[in-house]
């Protein structure tokens, strides 16, 4: 039991389980799944489907944060990717064909690749602080997205495109499958090769890892590209789910949710060790939190205040100073009371 509690994933998993249990108590059919027209339905599926874009972006963010960086531009990349693909479909001669949809996806991913290369260039080659480097794209990005859409909400009607965000495959929503595929890919690439260790090395001590002969510049570049491509795919999901590109509101504040998911999942903002599985659980917690607010009948306006309190609590729990304080309280029990280990 003790070793289980020491696992870094223990607390996020417990928090998620508690949230789910809370929902189950208030709505007895919460955890039930049912088949309808060959699709799986249920609150859990809804949480996963609505959380898919956040999970994707949080995966990219995890690797960026592991290198001691941060990527504030993901929300803007979401808007640009959605705008580019929808604008392409709307302008193409055959707006309903599968080829057009495939091209639109390609364009969005390429846009993400390009923006990631740009961020990586600023951080790794020019040496700008990550917050500031990605702030440039965060500021300009929504402007670029509006430039692409001409300031309008571009709506498209392409069933193939729509299936990315709203379709089903093997009884499951496509967006969940895409997210799962990216997760597996990222996990295999970083845990079955040396890449993961290299990323952690750069995050723990950039100077030492460079002196050890690591090409930290390339590694930093890779994580920013990965983050932007994840954001672009999330942008595809969000725009295809509503079959429209909204340059102003698509992915607004999603960078905050993603960072929050990473922190709740147990990856430290100081860089170094990271956990992709923790991030996924963190994103689930955030999405479940939103659902819980509805289930419990709390006015949805309070969600943001709730989130703020969760961020601060989690950060305080993670802070070494707060931990030391807790530890010293535990280590020095009041005189006269028998020592109890409360684990």
């Amino acid at each position: 039991m003790k070793s289980l509690m020491k696992n870094r994933l223990a607390w996020p998993v417990i928090a998620l389980a508690a949230l789910l249990l809370l929902n189950q108590i208030f709505r007895p059919d919460f955890l039930s799944l049912r088949m309808q027209d060959g699709h799986l339905y249920g609150s859990i599926i809804d949480i996963m489907r609505n959380g898919a874009p956040t999970i994707l972006i949080a995966l990219g963010m995890t690797l960026v944060i592991a290198t001691r960086g941060i990527d504030l531009s993901v929300g803007a990349v979401v808007a640009i990717a959605g705008a580019a693909s929808c604008a392409y479909i709307a302008a193409s001669p055959e707006p309903a064909s599968p080829v057009t949809a495939a091209m639109a996806v390609l364009i969005a991913v390429l846009a993400g690749l390009l923006l990631g290369v740009w961020n990586g260039f600023l951080v790794s080659t020019v040496g700008v602080q990550p917050i500031i480097a990605t702030l440039v794209l965060m500021t300009a990005g929504r402007g670029i997205a509006q430039l692409i859409t001409g300031g309008q909400i571009v709506s498209v009607s392409n069933d193939h495109y729509k299936s990315i965000g709203a379709g089903y495959l093997f009884t499951l929503p496509v967006s969940i499958l895409i997210t799962a595929a990216v997760f597996v890919l990222a996990a295999v690439l970083t845990r079955r090769t040396a890449l993961g260790i290299l990323i952690e090395a750069v995050g723990i001590n950039p100077v030492a890892s460079r002196l050890a002969g690591l090409r930290s510049r390339n590694i930093i570049w890779i994580v920013y590209v990965f983050s932007a491509v994840c954001a672009a795919i999330a942008g595809l999901m969000i725009s295809s789910n509503v079959t429209a590109a909204d340059a102003n509101n698509a992915g607004l504040y999603i960078e905050m949710d993603a960072i929050l998911a990473v922190v709740i999942g147990g990856t430290s903002l100081a860089g170094g060790r990271y956990t992709l599985a923790g991030t996924v659980i963190g994103a689930f917690i955030i999405q479940t939190l939103t659902t819980t607010v509805y289930t419990l009948g709390i006015p949805p306006e309070v969600t943001l205040v709730f989130k703020a309190l969760v961020v601060i609590t989690v950060c305080l729990l993670q802070a070494p100073k707060a931990r030391n304080l807790l530890r010293s309280l535990k280590a020095a029990p009041k005189p006269g009371t028998k020592e109890k280990v409360a684990i």
Binding site: T139, A140, G151, L269, E301, V302, L304, V305, A308, C315
Partner: protein, 338 residues
């Protein structure tokens, strides 16, 4: 001595070559570059549109950006210590919501303004305490502060609340005449007074010198016996207070409270400070530079309004571009002097 051993591991920071090398006029170079850019943009505007070259167009830059000037002042303090405050836009919105709601319920305007300043300053103080005593990055703490303030706005109301109270409307409509048929709003005078106060504090008080010292090298500042902890906490309280003042000024300007107001204004404030020549790593910069930075952002908007064919989103792209140019210049500058 025990406090020394618990210090955070010494981050090796080269003694800022910028400050030691630059004597006389050279250390004003980034700020002067911004001023040059501003004058050049004004000249280009005057060449393109005859009506651009008027005193009122220049004064309107102040009138339309009073709140941003005040925000940039607070942000300059924070960035000079090497921190960042992302909550300012949300605190502006919260101040507007609180004042609009309370005024609607018939509160005395003076009491409302006082309460708003207490809330803003208190929120900043709280964030500063968490940043300093729990050693959490300013970025994440002020992000949570932004969530909290924005969330409180939603809790107060989701609708736009008009301000019809007598004092606020009369201030909003007041014009202070200047010679030559020009005028400014009372808000401009307040903003300029705050800039003057900030200038005095930064350059002529111990607090101001400590702010610069922390930005230059926090560890040395602490070893020199400067009150690092107190100063860092106060800087965030000051930024919160400035945000609340900016919120009141924005209420005068827009005569309403809306929970989605001032969205992204923190980015404008940071952009103004950076364009004004303050180094994001802290230690170097001037509050007057930040004011020029705000004017540059203002003139970009004026340009787009004058042109008529350019759409509003060009503002964001141009601001992003300017931000990039100035960050790159800072890097170049830092490398050359190193």
């Amino acid at each position: 001595m025990s406090s020394l051993s618990t210090l955070t591991p010494l981050t090796v920071k080269e003694p800022s070559p910028l400050r030691s090398r630059m004597r006389g006029g050279a250390r004003y170079a980034p700020t002067l570059a911004t001023l040059g850019l501003f004058i050049a943009m004004f000249a280009v505007g005057a060449g393109m549109y005859p009506s651009f070259l008027s005193g009122q167009v220049f004064l309107n830059l102040f009138i339309d950006n009073t709140f941003l000037i005040v925000l940039a002042v607070g942000m300059t303090f924070v960035i000079l210590t090497g921190g960042i405050d992302l909550s300012v836009g949300a605190v502006v919105a919260l101040s507007m919501m609180v004042s609009a709601t309370l005024l609607q319920q018939g509160w005395n305007p003076a009491a409302v303004i006082f309460l708003v300043l207490v809330i803003g300053g208190g929120l900043g103080l709280l964030m500063g305490l968490i940043i300093q005593y729990f050693d959490i990055q300013p970025f994440i703490v002020t992000l949570a502060g932004m969530f909290l303030a924005r969330g409180l706005c939603y809790v107060i109301s989701l609708d736009s609340i008009p301000v019809t109270e007598g004092f606020f409307t009369s201030v909003a409509q007041a014009q202070i005449p200047l010679p030559g048929d020009l005028f400014v709003s009372p808000g401009v005078l307040l903003a300029l007074a705050i800039v003057a106060a900030a200038f005095f504090i930064l350059h002529h008080t111990r607090f101001g010198r400590t702010v610069y010292a922390i930005g230059g090298n926090e560890h040395s500042a602490m070893l020199m016996g400067l009150p690092v902890t107190r100063t860092k906490v106060l800087v965030y309280a000051l930024s919160g207070l400035c945000s609340a003042i900016a919120g009141v000024l924005f209420s005068f300007y827009s005569l309403s409270g809306y929970s989605l107001a001032a969205q992204g204004m923190e980015l404008d404030a940071i952009a103004a400070v950076v364009i004004g020549g303050t180094l994001l790593t802290g230690g170097t910069g001037y509050v007057l530079g930040s004011v020029v930075g705000v004017l540059v952002l203002g003139i970009v908007q004026t340009f787009i309004a004058y042109d008529g064919t350019l759409s509003s989103w060009w503002t964001k792209i141009v601001i992003g571009g300017l931000l990039l140019v100035f960050i790159l210049l800072q890097r170049l500058f830092a490398r050359k002097t190193a």
